[in-house]
């Protein structure tokens, strides 16, 4: 039980420390991507690029 407890504590404090002191986020609809220069220089290409990379909204 003590090992389980230590694992729980380790996980909880790791999340807290990563967020508080390194700015890391672990939840929410977000993603990091490398945009090629061709996409950045063509505004209309963003949506196509994002859509093709599986990041799109719409209800």
């Amino acid at each position: 039980m003590r090992i389980v407890y230590l694992l729980f504590l380790g996980a909880g404090f790791s999340l807290l420390t990563a967020n508080a002191f390194f700015g890391r986020e672990f939840f929410g609809q977000r993603r990091r991507a490398d945009l090629p220069p061709s996409v950045r220089q063509t505004p209309g290409a963003y949506r196509t690029f994002l859509h093709n990379n599986g990041f799109h909204g719409g209800k």
């Binding site: 729980f8 909880g12 999340l15 807290l16 991507a33 799109h56």
Partner: protein
């Protein structure tokens, strides 16, 4: 200054100090009472019983800076059998002290003029309260009769051969002790305390050498060998060979009666030596007791232990559960009435567990009181695991009674096995003992330090985070959706018209098809991010009502091209269904992004909605950095408390099973302790 006189019986010299009422002739055992002229012969005394007292007549010592001499002794008989000594200390300031000796303990008292009215003997009962007014409140340990047996030396009170005296022993806190002597009217009040013999610095005196070690004797009934380990204190012996009950008073064994003993199911043999809690102990007696509840007998075994200081302890076993019991002065325990369910002592709440009548069924070995088969005591048990307080109330022949309290500590069976080096492994205890420690509670208690430490660390981290997170606004913009949508932009004419609302597109001319609106996209100007270790938060707010707006965003680094992509939605619906108002969604949503490297960024915002026209004219978008997140401290708090919370359930179940066996079980099971 002593007065010398002659024995009225044999003419030997007698000494009468100031305060001496009766003197015993050491030659002819004559009892001579002090009179104005010559002493009066009032009888003769029997031989003294060898009580094994370490004291002797004529011994000297000091108490509270005053020298004293042991001038006399009276031996009194108890109605349950046994004899005890009362020594008289003649102090050099003319006072007399009463030093009572019983079961190796000493109680020194002095006569005291009571400050109030003393209660009559009929108003007292064992275990009850004796209210002496200004002299305090006391617990009655015993109220009984003492019968004069013998005496020696000088006695400071008017003893009479064969007389019986009513007395009440009172117990107070911190060893305080008092006696009410009802041999006179009004009763006499003696006040003092239990005292270690070493505090009296006694030296000299005429005494028999103390019998130490084991004394070998033979049973007068069967001739079997018997070993008495406390011959000076033993009153009864249950012969393990033939089952006879023997009297051991005066150091001689005498047959009393044959007992119908039950099967001797014991695990610690008579005479077995061991070491428990660092103290050497010897098992000198075995007692089988039982109580009957709802027609079922519940037996248990008690082992009388003699420790290295010649004190007594009890090792109690029932259903495989073991405990070690020691006597507690009644005055140390708060008053308990019969309806009381709890008592507070030693910083713990002791809960009443059961009240039973215990009966002695089997007797083997030696005992310091006149034990009898069939002897009954009323037992009340209060538990505060891993300890219990037990009150035993016993009635005396002749109307007296006494109450004894004992404090028991639960022992793991393996501790007993290790103490006596018993072979094999102990049997697994059945059920849950009345004061067996809750293992789940113990585990939780062991975790308490971790929990407190983790909570402290969490508090420090949250405080540090609240100081470092400034919630800095990096970008804030109200986006006009109509302006933002190319196909819906207002014409210059529309823009200048005051008569037609500018926020909505006008109807298209019938001869010209309306242009298809293009996708609205907004690019911010450069946003400078300086701190690469703090999170980012993008918030979308829109005054939607039964509609929605979605925002597809990207925070793009101008240098590396790395983009943080995110989705936000403002979606709010409400209505009335079956007379009940309802709402769904929210007009504001925030998404949190991980920290990004310092640099210049551009925010791309692409709103979308259902249909051709936007449901609202504008949306508000904010980008902030260093936003305090309570989610993560919440998760850490959950991690800290989750395991202890889970441990509560088996702990409560254990307590529920314990209290199912109690006469005072809570109505709903699962009560904590």
């Amino acid at each position: 200054m002593s007065i010398l006189a002659s024995c009225p019986s044999c003419g030997a010299a007698l000494s009468f100090r100031p305060g001496t009422m009766v003197a015993v002739c050491s030659y002819c055992k004559a009892l001579a009472a002090r009179r104005d002229r010559d002493p009066e012969l009032i009888g003769k005394v029997a031989d003294l019983v060898d009580t094994g007292s370490p004291l002797g007549l004529g011994a000297s010592g000091t108490y509270a800076g005053r020298a004293f001499t042991l001038a006399g002794r009276v031996q009194l008989k108890h109605p349950l059998g046994g004899t005890w000594d009362e020594w008289y200390l003649a102090l050099d300031d003319g006072r007399w002290g009463w030093l009572a000796e019983a079961q190796g303990r000493f109680y020194l008292t002095f006569t005291q003029a009571p400050h109030g009215t003393l209660p009559p003997a009929e108003a007292l009962h064992a275990g009850g309260l004796a209210d002496l007014g200004p002299d305090g409140q006391w617990t009655v340990g015993e109220i009984s009769d003492a019968t004069f047996h013998s005496a020696e030396g000088e006695i400071p009170w008017a003893v009479e051969p064969g007389a019986t005296y009513r007395f009440a022993d009172l117990s107070g806190k911190n060893g305080a002790f008092a006696t009410l002597d009802y041999s006179e009217t009004p009763p006499l009040f003696f006040l003092g305390r239990e005292i270690p013999l070493t505090d009296l610095h006694i030296q000299g005196g005429v005494r028999k050498p103390t019998r130490l070690g084991t004394q070998g004797l033979n049973c007068p009934k069967c001739g079997g060998a018997l070993a008495l380990h406390a011959p000076d204190q033993t009153l009864r012996v249950g012969c393990p060979n033939c089952g006879s009950l023997l009297s051991a008073e005066g150091g001689k064994l005498a047959f009393l009666k044959s007992l119908q003993q039950p099967h001797q199911a014991v695990v610690i043999a008579l005479g077995a030596e061991g070491t428990l809690n660092g103290e050497k102990i010897t098992c000198i007696g075995q007692l089988r007791r039982t109580c009957t509840l709802e027609g079922l007998p519940y037996p248990w075994t008690e082992y009388l232990l003699l420790d290295s200081q010649h004190g007594f302890k009890w090792l109690v076993e029932g259903d495989g559960h073991w405990s070690l019991a020691v006597a507690v002065p009644p005055g140390e325990v708060p008053q308990v009435d019969e309806s009381q369910r709890n008592l507070w002592m030693h910083g713990h709440n002791w809960r009443r567990f059961q009240d039973v009548q215990a009966t002695v069924e089997g007797v083997w070995g030696e005992f310091y009181w006149a034990v009898e088969q069939g002897e009954r005591v009323l037992v009340s048990e209060f538990v505060a695991p891993p300890k219990s307080l037990t009150r035993e109330r016993q009635a005396h022949r002749g109307g007296g009674e006494e109450v004894n309290w004992s404090l028991s500590t639960y022992l793991e069976p393996a501790e007993v096995w290790a103490a006596f080096q018993l072979p094999g492994t102990p049997p697994t205890p059945e059920g849950i003992g009345s004061f067996q420690p809750n293992p789940h509670k113990t585990a939780l208690a062991k975790s308490a330090l971790w929990i407190v430490g983790a909570l402290g660390l969490l508090l420090i981290l949250v405080m540090a985070e609240s100081v470092t997170h400034k919630n800095v606004e990096l970008f804030s913009k109200r986006l006009d959706l109509i302006e933002l949508t190319p196909g819906l932009r207002k014409s210059p004419v529309d823009a200048g018209s005051k008569a037609i609302p500018a926020r909505r597109p006008t109807a298209a001319a019938p001869d010209a098809p309306p242009p298809e609106p293009q996708e609205p996209v907004f690019f911010s100007g450069p946003i400078e991010i300086k701190d690469g270790h703090q999170n980012l938060a993008v918030t979308l707010s829109a005054p939607v009502d039964n509609n929605w707006v979605e925002l597809e965003g990207a925070l793009v680094s101008e240098t590396s091209g790395v983009a943080e992509l995110f989705l936000l939605e403002s979606s709010y619906y409400s209505g009335v269904d079956g007379g009940e108002a309802w709402t769904e969604g929210g007009k504001t949503e925030t998404v949190f992004l991980s920290a990004v490297p310092p640099g210049t960024y551009v925010l791309r915002l692409a709103p979308s909605w259902n249909g051709k026209f936007p449901p609202v004219d504008f949306i508000d978008v904010e980008l902030r950095q260093g936003v305090m997140r309570w989610l993560y401290p919440g998760l850490a708090l959950l991690a800290i408390l989750l395991v202890p919370f889970i441990m509560i359930f088996p702990m409560a179940a254990f307590e529920g099973r314990r209290w199912q066996e109690s006469m005072y079980a809570p109505k709903s099971s699962g009560g904590g302790d």
